[in-house]
Amino acid sequence: MEFFRNTNIDFLGKKWYFLAFSLIFSVAGILSMLFWHGIPLGVDFRGGTLVYVKFVDTPNDKAIRAALDKAGLRNARIQHAAGVTQNEVVIALDEKDTNEADLSRGKNQIIAALETNPQPGKQNINNSDLIGVAAVRDALATRDPLHKAPADYEPIARQILAYRDNQENGGAIRDLNELKSIVGGPVVDALSQDFYAGSFGVRHTDIVGPQVGDQLKRTAWIAVLCSLAGMLVYLWFRFELIYGVAAVVAVFHDTLITVGAFSLTNQEITLTVIAAILTLVGYSMNDTIVVFDRIRENIKLMRRESLSEIVNRSINQTLSRTILTSGLTFLTVLSLFLFGGEVLHGFSFALVIGILIGTYSSIAVAAPMLVAYQEWRTGRKGAVVAVPAQSKGKVRAKA
């Protein structure tokens, strides 16, 4: 089976379309970054407090808002994260409401505020932020419903919490009586003297002080710039400086459009998204290298043709593998995007966009740039086609 055989598409002839396409997406992204959503940074970079809660029943945003307002948390935002069920809500506090001297205060306030009908003297068993095996075990050991040694209540406590955290309940028990079939009536009766099943469970909390955020922002910039510089140097060493420059411009273009997509869709850029972008920087290079390798090989074979013809031929010859390799990686990334769950949503979104754009740019940005540079040089000096130095990298063979 083969998809592409002897294609002969004039890619360079379409360079103005490509330029227009790239410009539209880059400029849209830049405009959104400047004037619309900005660069939406995740809590890792911005600092702040996030509390992911899962309600037993589908919650009403207005009711949550009212509860938060009542607790004086007017600045708290209610978000519905992408890729999660309806019952899950994220309550967010900004960096300025997150106090480094008392980091968990905001979180505790949010949890307390959501506790709409607390039962005095009892604790919400679904508040996994506070309630673990030790609390349940100690409470049961004190009540001692089964007249056992305190240590014997530990496995029972584990069973209770395993039920709370199973796939179906997802961290929130609706009614303590459901536990009767698992640990028996007497234990549940004893349990309900110290605990009640609140209307929500805490799935995940994230609190980042502003200081760490700033540090991380710096690190992320350094990492992205370092890897771009690394690519430039490597390609310079393997090919020629202009090849390195063209490849890095193409990858920068990919990064810009990917970040632009996050801005346009107002999705937060977290640390894992940066990881995805760094991976893209490396991976987008792959297709570009495949094309460049072939160009270098063809320059030796086709001494009479112009560079633009050579580039066109090279792109066509490698088109099949460019599309196949990207397509296969795209398949895996797509399955991450579809099935990878809420935590990886931003990460896989970056990869989905990045791989599409990265493949496009190795054909539509990097290769035409080589030709454009060549034409510009010829126009200036009247020089003939420059054959990349053969001595560099001791190239034996190319794909």
């Binding site: 393997r238 991976t279 296969l328 991450l336 769950g341 990460f347």
Partner: protein, 550 residues
């Protein structure tokens, strides 16, 4: 050729067995549960999958510097007095921003005095450098090397203290280490904490118990405390500390005038136990001092006891708050009790903290990230689901597109995964922490997608050679050798990115970089070497010139 192939095949099988051992070890059985348990014993899951707490703490290292220079100030005063230099003042001009600086002023205009100061510093304070300041003053500064040494010792001591506390809580497999590039940060990872409510409080409590001399108080507020001093000025060796008002249970606030330098500090405590007071059954904490501190404490209590030469009281200070300020009935040598509104739980917590040793400086939380157990389990499920679908899609595609050669690629792919996972297992066996995080699973999935790229590059090249009329064996040979440089180039660029992630990122992100980098390294072996051996084996069984299914 045949023999060569046999050696290569044996090599591949050996590598495979080694890495399978890395994944499973020797499983107790071959049932699903036994295998699952074997895998989990070898490949450790990250916090984001297991659930747990991830904390980044900042050690307030300047506090340790300030404590050191406080001592230096006292030493200077003592020595100046011993040398009969009167009227000099020893102060810290900017204790908040430059705790390492001390200024000695108002010295008599006498060159002999000046050189005496220099000698005092040289003989008694080897970590400090004296330099001349304006108006016949001396600026005594802690040496930069000593400052950084003290700071790093402070962080190390904090790490030790935190480790002892976490161990006392019975948390399994904690990670406690210096964090990233900041030299005053500590990373604490506590997987699957059983007692999330208490653990953070216990880590953060400085538990710095100090015994100081109390010269006045309780006053209702700082203003009253100042007003009570002669001339409204605090003596220079005294400070005001807030604390519990006598007879209340933590509610009332009071201010005490206590000595700036403690008589006994946290590191002098040998042991501590919770107990109850004989007459009232109130929870108390008993503490025991080290021998040298006991001797110092005995001298102090002898001097300041009721009816002694200079009677005053003893302030028991915990984390810069005065817990109580009893008068000293008699000389005490090496043990004492702390009472003051404890519950049984808080008394036993404090005893545990004192046992584990005080933190040398207080801690501040910079980041606190908790993954609940339900989310961790969900993440494992979705990660595995994504991995399976991604793999199935890729493998099926390869089979359809390349037919028999697709089987070759799929086998290489499975080998690639076994080596990658086995590597994680082996890393853990050698005590290096290589946990599988959720982004790490994503790295595994990406390895599948990117790893198969190598096969595509090779296969496409072989097809091209076949189209050019080459014989199968020659086409395979050319395909592999010509694709090799490209594969190397593409892998280098991606691995460079992954390495940056390992070194720059922390936790989940570096887990991703690790799986991706090693997955691609393993891919060089599987997609090029293993796949080649399979091709050669197939070709060696075919008749010369028979067509290749690709």
């Amino acid at each position: 050729m045949q023999k060569n192939l046999l050696v290569k095949t044996l090599l591949i099988i050996a590598v495979l067995l080694i890495f399978l051992f890395g994944i499973f070890g020797i499983p107790s059985g071959f049932s699903g549960d036994a295998l699952k348990q074997a895998v989990l014993n070898h490949i450790h899951l990250g916090l984001d999958l297991k659930g747990g707490t991830h904390l980044i703490l900042q050690v307030m290292v300047n506090e340790a510097v300030a404590a050191d220079s406080d001592h230096a100030v006292e030493t200077l005063k003592d020595q100046l007095a011993k040398s009969n230099i009167t009227g000099a003042t020893v102060t810290k001009p900017d204790p908040d921003n430059h705790p390492e600086q001390i200024v000695v002023q108002n010295l008599p205009q006498d060159p002999a005095v000046s050189s005496r100061v220099q000698e005092i510093v040289k003989d008694n304070l080897p970590d400090y450098d004296p330099t001349r300041g304006p108006n016949n003053s001396w600026i005594v500064t802690m040496k930069p090397s000593a400052v950084s040494d003290l700071k790093s010792r402070t962080v190390d001591k904090s790490i030790e203290a935190i480790r002892r506390r976490v161990d006392a809580l019975g948390v399994s497999e904690p990670v406690i280490q210096k964090n990233g590039m900041g030299n005053d940060e500590i990373l604490v990872q506590l997987p699957g904490v059983d007692d999330p409510g208490r653990v953070k409080d216990i880590i953060q409590s400085t538990a710095r118990l100090e015994l100081r001399e109390a010269r006045g108080g309780p006053y209702s507020n700082e203003q009253a405390a100042r007003a009570a001093q002669p001339g409204g000025m605090l003596p220079s060796n005294m400070v005001l500390l807030h604390g519990r008002a006598e007879g209340t249970n933590g509610g009332g606030d009071a201010v005490y005038l206590v000595s700036r330098v403690p008589v006994v500090s946290g590191t002098d405590i040998r042991d501590a136990r919770a107990g109850t007071k004989g007459d009232t059954n109130q929870p108390i904490v008993n503490f025991y001092l080290t021998a040298s501190a006991g001797k110092k404490f005995a001298d102090f209590t002898e001097l300041h006891k009721e009816g002694g030469t200079d009677p005053s009281r003893l302030a028991i200070v915990l984390d810069n708050r005065v817990i109580s300020a009893p008068s000293i009935k008699d000389q005490i040598s090496d043990s004492g009790i702390i009472e003051g509104g404890f519950t049984e739980q808080s008394a036993s917590d404090l005893a545990k903290l004192l046992q584990s040793g005080a933190l040398p400086a207080s801690l501040r939380y910079l980041t606190e990230r908790t993954v609940g157990p339900s989310l961790g389990a969900d993440s494992i499920r979705s990660g595995v689901k994504a991995a399976i679908w991604g793999m199935v899609a890729v493998m099926v595609f390869m089979l359809i597109y390349y037919r028999a050669a697709g089987i070759n690629a799929d086998v290489a792919l499975i080998f690639n995964l076994i080596i990658l996972l086995g590597f994680l297992g082996w890393m853990n066996m050698f005590g290096m922490s290589a946990v599988l995080t959720l982004p790490g699973i994503a790295g595994v999935i990406l390895t599948v997608g990117m790893g198969v790229d190598s096969n595509v590059l090779i296969f496409e090249r072989i097809r091209e050679e076949l189209r050019n009329g080459k014989a199968p064996a020659a086409a395979v040979d050319q395909g592999f050798s010509r694709a090799w440089t490209t594969i190397l180039d593409t892998h280098v660029t991606t691995i460079v990115s992954a390495l940056i992630l390992i070194f720059v990122g922390s936790g989940p992100v570096s887990g991703f970089g690790l799986t991706l980098a090693f997955g691609l390294l393993a891919n060089l072996f599987t997609a090029v070497f293993v796949s080649r051996v399979i091709f050669d084996t197939v070709l060696s069984r075919k008749e010369r010139g028979a067509a290749l299914s690709i």
